[in-house]
Subunit: 333 residues, 2 copies
Amino acid sequence: MPELRKDPITGRWVIIATDRAKRPGDFIRQPVPPAQQTVCPFDSGHENKTPPEVLAYRNGGGRDQPGWRVRVVPNKFPVLGIEGDLSRQGEGMYDKMSGIGANEVIIETPDHAATLSDMPEHQIAEVLRAFKDRVNDLKRDRRFRYIILFRNYGEAAGASLEHPHSQLIALPVIPNVVKEEVDASREFHEAKERCIFCDIIHEESSAGARLISETDRFTVLAPYAPRFPFETWILPKQHASHYEDSEPALLDNLAWVLRSTMRKIDKVLERPAYNFIVHSAPVQEAPLAYYHWHIEIIPKLTKVAGFEWGTGFYINPTPPEEAARFLREAGLG
Amino acid sequence: MPELRKDPITGRWVIIATDRAKRPGDFIRQPVPPAQQTVCPFDSGHENKTPPEVLAYRNGGGRDQPGWRVRVVPNKFPVLGIEGDLSRQGEGMYDKMSGIGANEVIIETPDHAATLSDMPEHQIAEVLRAFKDRVNDLKRDRRFRYIILFRNYGEAAGASLEHPHSQLIALPVIPNVVKEEVDASREFHEAKERCIFCDIIHEESSAGARLISETDRFTVLAPYAPRFPFETWILPKQHASHYEDSEPALLDNLAWVLRSTMRKIDKVLERPAYNFIVHSAPVQEAPLAYYHWHIEIIPKLTKVAGFEWGTGFYINPTPPEEAARFLREAGLG
């Protein structure tokens, strides 16, 4: 008998298959091939193939020259435009708004073939610092109400370039999914005077069945009601609502945790395509007692079909307890 | 400058690309290959390869024998189990429920290679009648609060068997996406004393820019704020909340409309993979003045990536006015 489980934050139900639970080897493996594009606009020496950089950490070289370790540039094909007024307008019975926003690419390393699993830890820490620096810079623009950081790895997960990179999108509205998560956390806090994410960290850390790994500063777990097989969350143990307020030491530890988690995923699932998303509080809000930033990693193993689109109800063929056990047993720190 | 548009029903924002709008030829075409599996459990003569039928329309032959025109069977690998009690249970801080539900397959024709574009109209009408008959039968089981009907076509859209078929899933809870749509429609009705879908039909039918086709009974349109390129909705002109209450004459006309719409989509987008989903009111509700059943067709042309998963905010590279124009100009009724 399968199980219906309710996500305690969003109230979203998922179906967890229990009888014929899929083990890692039961998914069709499509390992992301090693990077091999010969012409790449993100390579060192090709700085003129991207818009001018907005941030770079450098060993030497001038602006838009080689010598960078991490480089952030506006997306050449942005989904939103940075210039212009934020005009809101009715259109018959409908509402629209000018597509103001920022869309930047964080080029994580000059090494075209690197992956999060094999990048040096200090390199990943610099990427995480670039995330923070860019958000802190962009949030001064009061038009932006939400900034999302994400990484698409592999074509199946929507990546169009293979050079290691993440993206940032700054939005003039708070997206529905974020609003739901934030509103629900606030309601929980109003009722219990506790952060629901802190409760989850505490519960999972003691129970252990869905725990993947822990450091002094972070908990890595499979959530109770995951939409996707091997969905993995990384949460800071100390309560904080905004990623961009993180201290350098926290990001150093996160670099280690993120790499070790990706190594486990790559080992167990054979270098799958994946998305990772930083969930953080709306940028114009002061620190919030009820919201807790975290990272969600979604390996791309299944296809989303009519049932999911029609209902928002996901069928997950791997119980999170199984997923956590496989990842835990992969070792690798 | 791209445009942010708000879906008037759910309040969901989407980004509509306007500058570099994608035309049909700009998408990577992956036409669903003609059906060619040689061994198929849904073929006539293979009735013993499926669980016993729960409904069949027949020219002759006995139960689970050849001679059927449309045949409905339980899914051999159901996502939910039909037997047992609907037990709700706490688990630490979490909530779960036994996975009670029904999962049936509507085998639409004995013709393995048929598609919705080339099936005879009366055959499609029988499929639509089977949808109605199964929902009316299953809703007598008061454990089921929502029944979803959907069709996945092509591997990219999640279909694992190529024989023409749709599916039905009966659920013991009302899924989030449905609840949002129903709640939002009710709020609109409370404020305006009108059905928002009736308003949309009226608006689009007069404006015309997003209108794809019309009959006396149905309006086919591209919604104002579609999540996906070439997303297409079919709505009955006369208000009705429950699909399963449809009269035979309405379903006959729907068969024509559905086939003509799929022909347009197949012509313009070269037989893409797609999902279609029947959006209908929760089955245990009496007829509702504020909700309006309809069909949503989503051609599978883009990949959903980190940004969409993290925000629920979709980037649509084709304005619906463009999509509607291409489909309108495809002709075919």
